[in-house]
Amino acid sequence: MIIFKNVTKTYSNNVTVAKDLNLHIKPKEFVSIVGQSGTGKTTIAKLIYAEERPSKGQIIVGGWDITDIKPKEIPVLRRQIGVVFQDFKLLEKKTVYENVTFALEVCGAKQKHIKKVVPQILKLVGLEKKGERFPDQLSGGEQQRVAIARSLVHMPKIIVADEPTGNLDSINTQEIIDLLLKINNFGTTVVLVTHNRDVVNSLRKRVISIQDGVIISDQKDGKYIL
């Protein structure tokens, strides 16, 4: 599903944040990418959804070589990858329903399709009764569930969650992890970028550990080792 071949990412100020990365994430896998802050975890996530381009190497997502992806092809890729962030990135002036709808509207989905899909997704994330609320009327965990709902509306094959529990307390964190596991059980590949030791250890899923931009371990039933 996701293949990195000798991927290196160096920024224009000569700072290398990913060095000669090789990894292969299979379809339907749940993979945690762990490491301390500033080790290059987020860069890996950005490389997957083409927010960043590799300086060297090759990246293949869903059989598509996106190493030199053209700008006009990026929207097509993004509709196949759901992205979730630590800061939720919700529109404060839009309701829960509108935030989720927005993702479909800007991609040209028909109104009929939107009306059918959005309530189903909201039900999946447990927010079917809070569709009319605004983000500031929700808890952190609920806001993150809205963000996950938004990332799911395109029925993506991959979800990239970049520190999705970073702003949440332990109860909300568990709720979000449970939701990601549920989505994974439906067959969606989940890439979880985190530095939360407890979360990673409780998952008992594949763990890729990064240190200074280098993969230092890749365990099938892994633990947080750093």
Partner: protein, 304 residues
């Protein structure tokens, strides 16, 4: 396509309203630009028409001795018509000259009475010469004076309109040059203002735009609301500029027409005649300015 247009238009109108003051200032500058350019264009058009009206008035009348036979005058007409600089030569016989004189002074009782008392027609026959160009008259007259027909001439009437035309051209040219500079300044400010407004709009919507990019909106969907916002500016500005220009033309028209009294020139008539062309040009110019600036601003954002 309709869904796409509806959604992007909705976003464009939202952008416009949410930055209302900035939008109003941008519109103000754009309207000033259109207004100044329209004024310059109108002045140019009016001056062109006025100069043409003066030029149309220029001709040379050659009056012949009453003893000269009509056949000789007609030969002189052929001679003149053969000159390359001559546009047309009209023969006015003695009878026609008298008729014209009567018509011109039909309200003057004294003249009408004295005409009836005359035993013979005192008015000479004449040839009215129109040249292709104003500068040709002197050459035509020189050639005529060197011809055999010069000896038949009683008098020549060459009113030198060239001086008026030269003066008019000079004044127009000066106003035009100043107008061009003023218009260029306004064009520059318009571009900067629209560009800046769109940049501010982009900045205040950066979260929304980031999310759009993240969820897979195409670049054209992201661009379209800003482009349409530019179109909205252009439409409002060109309509407002026309609404401002119309009463000014209406008020100024009698004064300007007075300046050209006796000439075939009516400012209001020209305004009505060219009203759609003026509006279309204003619309095209404002579209170019506002949508062009919008495209550059959003293009820079999308590249970043």
């Amino acid at each position: 396509m309709m869904v796409w247009l509806y959604r992007t238009s909705k976003l464009a109108i939202q952008n416009f309203w949410r930055n209302l003051w900035l939008s109003v200032i941008t519109l103000f500058i754009l309207i000033l630009t259109l207004f100044s350019i329209s004024m310059i264009a109108s002045l140019n058009l009016a001056a062109g028409q006025a100069i043409q009206a003066v030029k149309d008035k220029v001709d040379v009348d050659i009056f012949f001795n009453p003893q000269i036979a009509e056949s000789e005058i007609l030969r002189a007409q052929v001679f003149l018509e053969d000159l390359p600089q001559v546009k047309e030569v009209t023969y006015i016989s003695q009878d026609m000259a008298l008729e014209n004189f009567k018509v011109e002074h039909e309200n003057d009782v004294t003249i009408q009475e004295s005409l009836t008392n005359l035993s013979e027609n005192p008015l000479p026959a004449s040839l009215v010469i129109r040249a292709n160009n104003l500068e040709d008259y002197e050459a035509i007259l020189t050639q005529f004076e060197n011809s055999e027909f010069n000896k038949y001439v009683q008098d020549k009437n060459y009113s030198n309109h060239k001086l008026i035309i030269d003066k008019l051209s000079l004044i127009t040219k000066r106003i035009y040059n100043v107008g061009i500079i003023v218009s260029l300044i306004f064009i520059f400010f318009s571009i900067v203002m629209v560009y800046n407004t769109i940049r501010v709009t982009i900045y205040s919507h950066r979260e929304e735009l980031n999310i759009m990019r993240l969820v897979g909106a195409t670049n054209w969907f992201i661009r379209a609301p800003f482009l349409l916002e530019g179109v909205l500016y252009a439409l409002i500005a060109s309509i407002t500029a026309m609404l401002l220009i119309y009463p000014i033309v209406l008020l100024a028209s009698p004064y300007i027409n007075n300046l050209f009294a006796g000439y075939n020139f009516d400012m209001l008539y020209y305004f009505y005649q060219y009203i759609w062309q003026i509006f279309t040009l204003q619309l095209l110019l404002s579209l170019l300015l506002s949508s062009g600036s919008s495209m550059v601003a959003i293009g820079r954002y999308l590249k970043s």
